[in-house]
Every structure is written in C-alpha cells, then in structure tokens.
Homo-oligomer: 477 residues x 2
Amino acid sequence: MAEKKFVEEITSMEEDFAKWYTDICKKAELIEYTSIKGCMVLRPYGYAIWENIQKILDTRFKELGHENVCMPMFISESLLQKEKDHVKGFAPEVAWITHGGGEKLEERLCVRPTSETLFCEHYANTVHSYRDLPKLYNQWVSVVRWEKTTRPFLRTREFWWQEGHTIHATAEEAMEETRRMLDVYADFCENSLAIPVIKGRKTESDKFAGAEATYAIEALMHDGKALQAGTSHYFGDGFARAFDITYTSKDNQKVYPFQTSWGVSTRLIGGIIMTHGDNNGLVLPPAVAPVQVVIIPVAQHKAGVLEKCRELVKQLSAFRVKLDDSDNSAGWKFAEYEMKGVPVRIELGPRDIENNNCVMVTRHNGKKEVVSLENIEKTLELKLKEVRDGLYEKARENREKRTYVCRSMEEITACLAQMGDGFVKAMWCGREECEDKVKEVTGVSSRCIPDSQEHFDDRCVCCGRKAEYMLYWGKAY
Amino acid sequence: MAEKKFVEEITSMEEDFAKWYTDICKKAELIEYTSIKGCMVLRPYGYAIWENIQKILDTRFKELGHENVCMPMFISESLLQKEKDHVKGFAPEVAWITHGGGEKLEERLCVRPTSETLFCEHYANTVHSYRDLPKLYNQWVSVVRWEKTTRPFLRTREFWWQEGHTIHATAEEAMEETRRMLDVYADFCENSLAIPVIKGRKTESDKFAGAEATYAIEALMHDGKALQAGTSHYFGDGFARAFDITYTSKDNQKVYPFQTSWGVSTRLIGGIIMTHGDNNGLVLPPAVAPVQVVIIPVAQHKAGVLEKCRELVKQLSAFRVKLDDSDNSAGWKFAEYEMKGVPVRIELGPRDIENNNCVMVTRHNGKKEVVSLENIEKTLELKLKEVRDGLYEKARENREKRTYVCRSMEEITACLAQMGDGFVKAMWCGREECEDKVKEVTGVSSRCIPDSQEHFDDRCVCCGRKAEYMLYWGKAY
C-alpha cells in the first residue's frame, strides 16, 4: 500500500500543528532546507505558486500605473541611518557586509531588510518638479532580516516579496494610494487565494519603523493564530525631510513630497497552507495552483485510454493541466496530487470513455462526481469557481467560529482556554499601557483597528476608561 | 529649440565612445547611479527591457522543460570551498557577510557570485535515483562580484541574470544540454536582439572556474570591441565528486551524475546599446523595446486629431504602443523617443487623417514614409520585422568590415592600427604560452574557438608550430 505510506508520513494537524505545517512544506516539495539556518530553497512547485502570485499582482499593479524597477541589494550604514525611527527598527536585524574583493570596506553595507532608504536616495536624485510626480514604483526582490526563530515561508532570514514605493505631491494622494493598495491586497487574498481578511490600521506601537500609519490585512489560520498577510504604509513627508527630497510646486515653491510603501511576500504561501491545508496535505486555491487539474488514466494499458487522456489535455489547454501517465499506481497518484493540493482530479478509464464521462474529484472536500466529457471546459471552469468559493466559505466559517467578543480580560482568558486560539474583539482606550497589559495578562496582542468598527461596550477591556476603538487581538505568526 | 538641446547633451560616439555609452544609459533613463560604487538602479525603462528579455527567454526555457527555482543568496565559506577550481576563481571577488542580527557570525557567508555550490548542496539532498534525473533548473536573480572597474550593464558589482543549472545521468546528455542552451542564446541574440554572434568554445585559460568546457557567444560592438554575451558550461562530474552527489543507476550502481550551467545577464542591454545605438541615442530591437511604436499627434489641438490617435492606439493593441499627447512640442517628442530608441514613430495630423494616412518613421535609419491607415496593423507588423532585419544587417556588416584574417603577429598589429579594433581570425597551436604572447604583443586576447573553423594557414600565428585551431581574438569588454 504505497499510497497509504505516502500519506502516513505527515503528522496530523491535531497532533502537532507546527510539525504538520513543516511536513507539508517538505512533502509537497515546496521547499528544501539548506545548511544556512533560515535560508530555504524554493523548489519548482513552491516557486511556481509564487510565480502565479506574481503574475496576478504584477498585472494589477501595472493596471494601476505602477512601474517595475530594481534597486541595489546593498545599503550603506550612513544611508540606513538617515531616518532615525527607521534605523532603530531595522538596524538590529540586518546582515552586514564588511569585506569585498579581498579588502575591508571603508563603510559597512547591509543587505536590504526593506528598501525605503534606497528609494529615497533615488527620489532625491530624480524628483525635482511637480511634473516628476507621482512616481509609482514596485520591485520584486528578496530581502534579508536576521531572525532568531525561523520557519519556512512564515519567518525566514531571506524572503521574496514585492515592495511598492510611491511618492506624491500631496498628503491626500499618498494616503489614497496607501488605502488603495491595501484594498488590492485584500481583494487578491479573498478572491485569488480564498483567504478572508480583516482590513485595519496597526496601533502606534505596531507601526512600520518610520511610518506615520501602517495598514494591514489580517487572516486567521486553521489553528486560530493570526497571520499578517500584507501591509501598506503611509509615510507623510517624514522620509522626504530626512533625505532632503523636495520638488518645485506649480507656484514655484520648494516643498516636501509624501510617500508610501506596501508589500506582500512568500509568507502568503504559508497562509495558504495554514488556511486551506488538511491532513492529506496541501490544498491550493485554483488561481495560484501550478496544476489546476490533474488527469489520471485508469487502466491506462487498455487501448484508447491514454489517447483519450491526451485529447482531454488539449481540450483543457485554457487551464494548467497535467496528465500523469507514469507507471505509478492510480492510488499512489491520487495520494501524491492530494499531497500537492491540486484542486481538481479527473479520472478517466475505459468505462468512462464508453459513456463519454469522466470522474471529477475536488480536493478540498473529496467530492466525487461523474460528469460528461461534453462541454468539459465549461464544467471545469465552473468547478474551479466552486472550489474557490468552497475554500473561502470554509475559511470564513473557521474564522467566525473562532472570533470572540470579550468585555473583560477574564473573559478573554476564559474564552481562549475554552474555545482555543482565535481572534478576540475587544474595546480599547487607545493607550499603549493597556495594549501591553492585555498582552501580558492574556497572551493576545493587538492585530489591528479594523475598518469595520463595532461598538458593544463603552469601556476599555483593560482599564475601564472610555473606549476609543474596537480592536482585533490574537496570537500572531 | 528644446529638442536640439535634448540631443546635444550626449557626446558623439566618434568623440568618446565610453562617454557616449554612459550618456545613453543616463539620458535614455535606463539606469541611475547610487552612492555605492558599481551598484546601479534599474529605472523603469531599463527594467522594462530586462522584463521583455526575461519573458522571451523564460518561455523558451520552459518549453525545453526547465523549471524555475530560487536558491538563497548566501553561501557559507565552507560550501564555497568544496570545489577547488571554483573557489580559486570566485573567492577573490566576493562580498563577505560577517555579522547578522547584531552578532558576529560563526562562519562568514558570501553573497552568491554564482550558484553552482548552492545547487550542488541541493542536488546532494534531493537526487538519489536515476528516476530523479535529469533536473533542469533555472533561476532569475542578482549576483554580486566585487569588481574594481565598473560600468553600467557591462560590469557592475551587482547584476541581474538567469542561471540555468542542470544535472543528468550521462555525460552525453549533459553535453547536449550545454550545446542546446548555447544555441538558444545565439538564436535569441540574433533573432530577438538583432545582434549577430559567433558561437564557440573558450580556451582552457578562459574557462569558467570549475568547468570542463565553457562555450560562449561573442558579439562585436560598434567600436570594434568584443562582448561575451552568454556562456554555457559543461562540468562533467567534477562538481558531483566534490559535493558527493551520487545516484543509484538502473543496474543498481552508485554513480556520479553530470552537470551544466548557463547564463545571460543585464549585460545584454549593454550589448544592445553598443551594437545598435547612434549619436541620437538608443536604438532598440522591436522584440524587447518597452514601446514598439509611439504615436505623436501633429497639431493636436485641432478637432479630431487626438480622437483619431486614440482610435489608432486601440487598433494597434497587439503591439506595445504609446500615445504622447503631452503638451511638449512635436520636435521635443521626436528627439525624446529617438533618445529612447523607440523603433517606429507614427505622426498623425489633420492632413494625414483627411487622406487616411499617417507618417511612419523608423528609428534605425530615419526613413520616413507615408502609409495608409488601412491595414495599419499588418503594415506595422511587417515594418517591425524589417527593422529587426535592418538592425541585424547593419550590425553584421560592421562585424564583417571589422573582422581581419591575420597570418602573423605583425599583421595583427598593423591591421588593428590601420583599421581599428575588431575581430582577428588567426591560427593557433593550442598552447597557453602562445595565447599569452599574442595578447602581450598585440593587445588582443582569445575570444573563442569558433564552431565554424576555417583553415587559411597551417601554422600558429605566434610560434609557427602546427596550428590546431582557428581562433577569434579581440579586445573585450
């Protein structure tokens, strides 16, 4: 029973969620470890998911007028230090180059942990007049942060991402951009990845280093922990002042422009695993699945079976389709593509062919149907939509089930103990002191001040003072 | 005369070729310098050319069965040292990370100068059986080599490239792959970039560090200097032995597999500039031009002109088309898109519209034609082919004119003095001693042993011994 063994090798999520997670990363061949801690190899299957994410987002960014660029990977120590909050946030976790070409460098260089300072240097060189604005830039690169605890996709020392960087004539325009890109991320997560997200603003203590405001989308994983899936920052003119970026306005004044930055990373792949995966392995949303439908011949040695399968591949060329005509057993193949999270499996054998049918199995719910080969393209198209909707609904239900309205710290503690980890909705006075105390006492930290505010209590869950906001709290990846 | 000024700002290539080159890099907005020597910003227009190069090659690689992956950017010192020729070649020019997260690292890490060692580590972890072979991998990343003298695109400390890495069961398969990918590069350069290339093998002294054989394509630039435009390496089983990569063959033997690697880089953009550019700026081959055709309205304030231009944009949606309806003068626009090397310019004014015509100007030869708007898509399609052919022919003629057959070292020296730099074809005995001496005496170094061997002399151009090969020699970028 080879196929049995294939599946047995992964730990069940109920037994050990963290182990289940890394088992999937390895067994679905998304990544491989290297001899350097926190640095992973993105294998073909994992990289193909990232390529699909890139394609969808890149198209969307360009539709909105953004242009791709590429900044260097190095930042000199003096450049990093120009904006004081920014350096305070990032300097402790950078990797430093001290030698190049056999010689000690005059000044240390770090590998970019993020590229605000590089974009600022470039703006200072190229932005002079209101005619030069806005600049809407993006880059697809990897960045390095020297994390102590690392996990594939979720927290690695090097990770791949896109970072958008824009510069505008007015604060309003920059703020609009900040919110627009958060919406793009939310829309992408919900529609393409089938991951429901909460849109909101980070508290002061949780902002990006150097930002005036940070907005984020927050998702709830299967185990009840929160994942920050994307962020969008509004910088005001703080970076412009620190880097002396000015432009001449229409009325001939030297003024400071306003900036934003926004990013999503390979972390999204971790989010996909922990939102949709199950004990048989990965479950992929169709929009980013490297293989959307796998065709498995049944009794493939029988006359006509492989021919019909190949015909079907051609017929389904609008999809990412794969025919597995290897000599592995059908059962082995079933288990393999389940592990790899292929959304739809088509089984095709002599009897199906006779009846002009095939068997269609959807990965996320195991549902098996006999469908006609007539109009199979249309059937599959609808099926993939159904899969996305099914995944989304399942994830949304999990999130609803695990979202708790709490009116006191005792209630938070009791709720989490009884129901397990999840999102806690609780009122907050807006003071960092209370934010810290809630975390200290209950273990959940503030996730965001959601756009959709509710008002179920007038008082702060911690101090009892007048509440300013309803906050989402949770344990975070 | 604003348009006049725009053009005057670049140095003529006859006056100072190197200055002409960097002027184009800056004025065509391909790159911007940064405060770190040898690290450049790829600006939107420069990056868009690279994206087009990527799209064409990536599609081709995938058609041939290659899969994209991504290795980490760091290599530990001990990993780099595993293959002795490789480390000897690269260690002197790497950048070293010594600190991360505020602490001194136990072992230094370098930023990849190339990734053979990382792929080898990964192969050792994942290749076990003949069923695992071949692996046909590629990655699109940047690499770092601490060059002393740097120039945009041609030699930068960080540069963007693709590196293909493959591993095969047999030497024959690996050698086939090595040659196949050289052919892919040659075909891409000639057909997509309109750059004629010589295919050949590097001499022993000029091989990639760790390779058994290095193949290259060599192009001749406008100034008569040679540019190595792409390389493909055959490693035999040398890396496999150094990294202890083995697989179990069909007959159950532990054996070493065979490897290749191959790459082209942003250097190709330097090659485009120096092959096709002129004193009005950049000249781009249509296949990679970010804008293939620019539409310039004439008397755009007149009724119907802009409407007709917009209609034309829609009609030409199969191309990368741009309408410039800014309030700059037509003359300014002409100069700007000449500088940016847009292959075709369409001028459209009231009289043209009346006659259902437009004026079509090709950048590379300045030819101006009145063409009918009837069937303009077809006309443009043919025109872009014509542009590619025209560029190629011009470059080929320059190369022919500057390729000299020489039978003695004196002849080489005289030829170069009289005709200027170029390719020298001369017979060679195969000994490094003579290779070195030719370089020392005449200033040209061996470029490659071309696939198409000629035999115009029996004796080595240097020592007079029996000649083994005809070699291409030249001064190289």
